[in-house]
């Protein structure tokens, strides 16, 4: 267990360093003089020199990289060249929205995905399995941003069931907050729930044909315990890793969903930054995303090892 942990930590650290180098190099790969790009419209020689100094562009690459890393580590991600606001505060105000949206989406997707996956596996060869499979296939194939458009068009605008856009912070009004987020979270969760459903179904089918299920049946356990405990516990170990692997898709999906529902989150920040060529913001957004991806995946792996006793407890045999 300890060796596994150390190994996993080491791998994550390597990936993080590589990711930082990629982001750093990406900014240097911007067309033309990075100072010009960073300056945006404000191009008098004075501010260009200030920018060169601020970003250390007059220094060697190694020094520049070190400055980039040490600034980032202290949370100093530069300033927006559009508004002059520190990028850190922009990100800190946008992140809670995205985190809440993603957590809600994962919850919804897990409930739907695991439920439908179990039903499909248990009701093998019956209409219920057929329906669950068809829904999963649809969920994988439908462009979820289009589904979002349709939901706004028909559920929000025509029927007035949900607000079409906007956001209310959770702590100022929890009910309104959920009311605003439930539809985006459902939409964001569709693709993920399809993936979870398929994975749950196939690992449940594997589990249900395992010898230990035959043992559980031979013990006279009720179906609830055979399926809900013995089979599900084993399949969920696999499902957890799949959810971890879907994190990238979830982040991408969140960007689009926020765009459609006009949520003031991380995704909106990202897209706006690209169109405004706000390079410090783009750089920070990419770095923060990569870092969170690596950290969350590490956590998922640790969770995985906690759930699975074969990793948690070393065998003596």
């Amino acid at each position: 267990m300890r060796r596994y942990l150390l190994n996993r930590l080491w791998q994550s650290a390597v990936t993080l360093v590589l990711a930082t180098i990629v982001v750093f190099a990406g900014v240097r790969a911007l067309p033309g003089d990075p100072a010009l790009a960073l300056a945006g419209e404000d191009r008098d020689p004075e501010s260009l020199r200030a920018i060169r100094q601020q970003y250390g562009l007059d220094q060697s690459w190694l020094v520049q990289f070190w400055q980039f890393v040490s600034h980032a580590a202290r949370g100093d991600l530069g300033q927006s060249i559009r508004t002059g606001t520190p990028v850190r505060s922009m990100i800190l105000s946008a992140l809670p929205v995205t985190i809440e949206l993603s957590v809600l989406a994962i919850l919804i997707a897990s409930v739907i995905g695991v439920g439908a996956g179990v039903i499909a596996a248990v009701r093998r060869g019956r209409p219920a399995e057929w329906a669950a499979n068809a829904l999963a296939l649809l969920g994988l194939s439908v462009p979820h941003f289009w589904l979002g458009l349709m939901a706004i068009l028909y559920l929000s605008v025509a029927l007035g069931l949900f607000p079409a856009s906007g956001f209310v912070p959770f702590f100022s009004n929890p009910v309104a907050n959920l009311h605003h987020l439930i539809l985006p979270a459902l939409i964001l969760g569709t693709g993920l729930s399809a993936v979870i459903m398929r994975q749950t179904r196939s690992s449940m089918l594997d589990a249900l044909s395992a010898d230990y299920i035959r043992t559980a049946e031979a013990k006279g356990l009720p179906p609830k315990a055979v399926v809900g405990k013995h089979a599900l516990r084993n399949s969920l170990i696999v499902v957890v890793t799949i959810v971890g692997l879907q994190l990238g898709a979830l982040i991408s999906g969140a960007v689009v969903t926020e765009r459609i529902f006009a949520l003031p989150g991380f995704g909106k920040l990202t897209v706006d930054a690209v169109f405004q060529r706000d390079y410090p913001v783009i750089q920070a957004v990419v770095l923060v995303t990569a870092t969170s991806y690596i950290v969350i995946n590490l956590l998922v792996d640790l969770l995985y090892s906690v759930i699975d006793p074969r990793i948690r407890v070393r065998g003596e045999a």
Binding site: R214, G220, L221, N234, E316
Partner: protein, 325 residues
Amino acid sequence: MKPVLAVKDLSVTFRTEDGPLSAVDRVSFDVGDGEVLAVVGESGCGKSVTAMSIAGLLPRTATVDGSVELDGTELIGADKRTLRSIRGREVAYIFQEPMTSLNPVFTVGHQIIEVLRTHIGLNRQAAHARAIELLKLVGIPSAERRVGDYPHQLSGGMRQRVMIAMAVACDPKVLIADEPTTALDVTIQAGILDVLRGLRERLGTSIVLITHDLGVVADLADRVAVMYAGRVVETADVHDLFAHPEHPYTVGLLRASPAAGRHADAQRLNEIPGLVPVLTEQPDACTFADRCPRALDTCTSSQPQLTDRPHRVACWNPVREPVEV
């Protein structure tokens, strides 16, 4: 004496992509109180399917006909609830693969406690104490500590002992052991057989021992039923069968086995030529005729029935003369 388990005309057919597949054809046998009946045969002869069908453990693709009476209660066609209350409580199973037959994500203690709580309704503490007792009963050292171990922390032999502890947790009338020693090292096999013998003596459990290993049969069984291609071809007292096998297939089986109480180097092992046939339907003929050195014309045109004597054999041309095996 009335048998504990009476199997009569049991037939099993599987629905497959290529049509129906007959796995077991009108198998009958009785198991008395405290008796060990060995069911032997090559792989694919239907012995495991027979075992699984007793408590309704076959998949939905199987059709089971005939009768299985446990202490006078009919099990074939019984509803699921009845079957569940019998499984683990009155009929318990031990399987071949101790590696995979235990659930890897629960402790062995938990898996034993589960049976106790389901069938006897013991509370947590009582079930825990009983689980430790059971582990001691099957000879697991430092059972108090082992009860909290996960299956992967135990050796194959220990895992099989856990399986046995789980099976006898509710003191079942019949224990069905499906190749209980096949996956284990020879040195460990003996220990497991000792445990089974001890259980029979101490608890008086009847045992149906499914195996292809005649050494195990000689070690443990009182009576033997020899199966071939889904049919019982010979059944007799274990000493009688080893001394005077009458079915040519049994003779072949004994000659192909190195154990069974004779010197391994006394004679070259003989294999029986050919393979067990896969049957889509049961023919009105002896299914062994193709491989039989003693086949007559009758053998391919009419199915021999089991004779009605203590030593029963289904053969048109049984071996009556003493054979050297």
